[in-house]
Symmetry: C2
Subunit: 140 residues, 2 copies
Amino acid sequence: MLIHARLIADTHFLGRFETSLLLLHRNAVVPWFIVVPDSVETELLDLPRPVREAVLEESAQVATFVQSYFGSSKVNFAAIGNIVPQLHLHVVGRDPGDNCWPAPIWGNLTEDKQYPASECEAICAALVADYGLQRDAGRV
Amino acid sequence: MLIHARLIADTHFLGRFETSLLLLHRNAVVPWFIVVPDSVETELLDLPRPVREAVLEESAQVATFVQSYFGSSKVNFAAIGNIVPQLHLHVVGRDPGDNCWPAPIWGNLTEDKQYPASECEAICAALVADYGLQRDAGRV
């Protein structure tokens, strides 16, 4: 499966679900995951219904993880894709008082923080252990 | 079904699907629809799966309508809810060159245009005729 160069540049690769890949945005200021369905369709709402439902279920797993692991009180979920045409879904943990609350994150984060490598690994391990993520299988 | 006062203030009421109400944002600069599921859950990805699937199907109907009626080349779909806690889903028609392309619309629209009453009525009539919207049934 191919991934758009901009997504590769902006994220850490975490692994694969049945229907999509899971990426973690490099900016650690908020917990920002990106679900990339294995599809040539560019619109979430144009996906065939069974694919859409599988992708939503995988996104729901990520949302549950974000709430549990980061303690986020709110999850923003969006398919935008005005810049990167490849279909990708943002699953973002939010909290009152975070870097740009209550504004959406896109274009509004004023800080850039990196994850330590150990933190990426811990996130990946937790997703593999409890949320059905497969590590590296089918890695591009 | 109750609707948050901020949503009422910002939108025209269009009608009802099986699982959600459909609102049209008053700012006509972009085609901006808001799907409001009949649920006390505030997170899209925490909805029970059958409800989530019904809501997505109704959102997909709206997206198809936006592409067909307005000719939008792109649809942005998002559950944000950082300001209005009641669960609501944005279905927004986008085009290169529109008011704030490629930025997301939230907080970025620089113009405010109103729909003529006849245009609201035409939109509603088209959704009722071809997309399963029920007019005024269960109006709050």
